[in-house]
Amino acid sequence: DAGITQSPRHKVTETGTPVTLRCHQTENHRYMYWYRQDPGHGLRLIHYSYGVKDTDKGEVSDGYSVSRSKTEDFLLTLESATSSQTSVYFCAIRGQGANADTQYFGPGTRLTVL
């Protein structure tokens, strides 16, 4: 499982509330990613990080922000949750060395916005 944990694993919230999802890794990987997965769309990249305080947008970044103040943690924040952000969110890390082209996924967070 590449030492990746996500919290919370499930969350139900109301429209307009802020939500923060946490991804934690224990293996000092430089690159970390946030994806959302929705039926008919597959996995889509929200934001990614290539080091502490270094982040960039993915294809579906509107309505999301991220922060990475230390190597092991990558936070995804929904400033004001909307029903369209109901989804399963996966964090991933990029492998190292011979596995540098491979991404390994965390267990996911199921978010429901009512």
Binding site: Y31, G42, L43, R94, T102, F105
Partner: protein, 111 residues
């Protein structure tokens, strides 16, 4: 726009059958093609392919990349109920280091 297309969307077979899943890609500056298996949880890595014609194998699963045709196939022989899952392929590009995923093929294997 970069895209990855998988077919079929869904497949239902009986145990013991052999299946072939298809993945085609249109991405700029292609680097590698990855296959993942997703059961009721996170995607787990299966194969990464970077060179045409070289088969990657793991037990009953195998995959080949065809760079000329911009495609890859994933074969599963002697399917088992435990092979039931969504199979995802993704293309990695040189310029962005981002994975572009297809929508997946849902495989159901019945006893």
């Amino acid at each position: 726009e970069d895209k990855v297309v998988q077919s079929p969307l869904s497949l239902v077979v009986h145990e013991g059958d052999t299946v072939t899943l298809n993945c085609s890609y249109e991405v700029t500056n292609f680097r590698s093609l990855l296959w993942y298996k997703q059961e009721k949880k996170a995607p787990t890595f299966l194969f990464m392919l970077t060179s045409s014609g070289i088969e990657k194998k793991s037990g009953r699963l195998s995959s080949i990349l065809d760079k000329k045709e911009l495609s890859s196939i994933l074969n599963i022989t002697a399917t088992q109920t435990g092979d039931s899952a969504i199979y995802l392929c993704a293309a990695l590009t040189h310029n962005t280091d981002k994975l572009i995923f297809g929508t997946g093929t849902r495989l159901q294997v019945f006893p």
